[in-house]
Symmetry: C2
Subunit: 263 residues, 2 copies
DNA sequence: TAGTGGTCTAGACCACTTC
DNA sequence: AAGTGGTCTAGACCACTAA
């Protein structure tokens, strides 16, 4: 037999999915359910906490517990890296997205810090340098309006970016054309990429930074960007709120018995 | 100021990451910490529950709370679909994986059920048929040894698979060569795919089926497989334990201003 | 200031594992 | 039977929000 708090949570969850409680609507207050005989305050609270962990509601002190209105997933495809957006135009890719969708660009939607750091193990491995080698880290917090959606930290080898706008400590949102444009102007035209992604529980600082509902997971994305000569020019780590994005990839079915060059 | 249970959880988490508590080792029993003055039983329990939600420990009644030994992520690349594995050989792709990694194949590592069902909305949309149209669903639960790792449900249009081994109600693990081989023999050679993935909280039945630690999230994968003529011949939905897999994709940087045909 | 969710306690009891 | 984590209660108090 399931615990009392689980049964209560399931009953409420069913009513939410059924539409009895609409998105944005307040759930009954904890004390109301206690008086109605649903159990002690702790028990009802446990049920509400479970609903929050399942992404159905969000609670806030002094306010109440409301049904979460989950925005549809933002679908990310590789077209977001289209050369036309950063090479030919003069807009950072993410700004081009905003313009295309008719939303206004706001200056504070991307903040960043740039500096030399000791390469974390993963970064060192990607570049094939000893762990602890100094590399440039360019960290951004990307927002959609007021809500942060993900962090993105790019790592560069100093010999590649030294002297470019990329490591200007006081840039705008990466400046005209974005990071890929800067690399292009420096003689490194990007050609192909690898993305690797997985999910994990959010760390405590990420919960605060990304304003995540407690117990939400994140997607961590590792992006390697190469020139046509297979030179790695950027290694980036993104941390995305799990409930806000999906990723989409197209690829041919591999055939190791054929000679087609790059797969 | 952080709650007492949060501070306790953070102290223990730090000791785990520090190696004071090794993977597989038992944490102090709840009543021990209560006697040691860490707080009431509920408070200590809350701390342990938080550690469990963060993937650091697993608790079990009658046994204790042990530090979780997390296996490295299994990295999935598109080479798992290599034609050589299912067209030329006689092994299901996942068996070929096992052979390559030196593990024994066990008959019960994949179970499946096959039948006609009303197409769920997503499936109907993928095939461009009305929602509720009857399609074949082939559901597998894939295990690694005793532990289930993911479910995979393939949906097919009846006119494509009718009369093939794919819908044999009593097949082995998809039979010789797997599903792609059956389609190949039926005149549908697969050519390219699209994968879309996102994460979400596990549903209650998935927690049971995949033996997930409570509050773990899952990755849901939507795979569309096409012939060279862009005919969709399989739409599959996978549900993977979030902590066990990563996905990897390689792709060229798109250039919409060039004429290169398929991106 | 009133009302909300969140924390904490002390103790009783339950469900499960191990011996 | 003994010992583990899990549930539940009743009530006190805290932290935050809104009018």
């Amino acid at each position: 037999m399931a615990p009392k708090w689980r049964e209560l949570a399931d009953r409420i969850a069913a009513r939410i999915r059924n539409g009895d409680y609409a998105p944005g609507e307040r759930l009954p207050h904890i004390r109301e359910l206690v008086e109605a005989g649903a159990g002690s305050k702790s028990t009802v609270h446990a049920a509400y906490k479970a609903l929050e962990a399942e992404g159905l509601v969000t609670s806030s002190r002094g306010h109440g517990t409301v049904v979460r209105s989950l925005a549809p997933l933002k679908r990310l495809g590789i077209e977001r890296y289209d050369k036309a957006k950063w090479r030919d135009g003069d807009q950072v890719a993410f700004i081009a997205d905003r313009v295309a969708s008719g939303r206004a660009y706001r200056r504070n939607e991307q903040t960043q810090t740039v500096g030399l750091v000791a390469a974390p193990p993963i970064v060192a491995a990607a570049y094939g340098v000893p762990s602890g080698t100094e590399v440039y880290a360019r960290a951004r917090l990307v927002k959609e309006g007021d809500r942060p959606t993900h962090t993105l930290t790019s790592y560069y080898l100093p010999e590649i970016v030294e002297g470019t706008r990329l490591i200007d400590p006081n840039p705008g949102p990466a400046g005209r054309g974005g990071g890929f444009r800067v690399l292009y102007d420096a003689g490194y035209e990007i050609d192909h990429m690898t993305e690797e992604l997985f999910t994990r529980p959010a760390a405590a600082n990420e919960v605060a930074l990304l304003q995540l509902p407690s117990s939400e997971w994140v997607i961590e994305l590792h992006r390697s960007t190469y020139t046509a000569e297979d030179l790695l020019v950027e290694f980036a780590i993104g941390v995305h709120a799990g409930s806000r994005f999906s990723w989409r990839y197209d690829f041919p079915v591999p055939d190791s018995t054929a000679n087609k060059g790059r797969q």
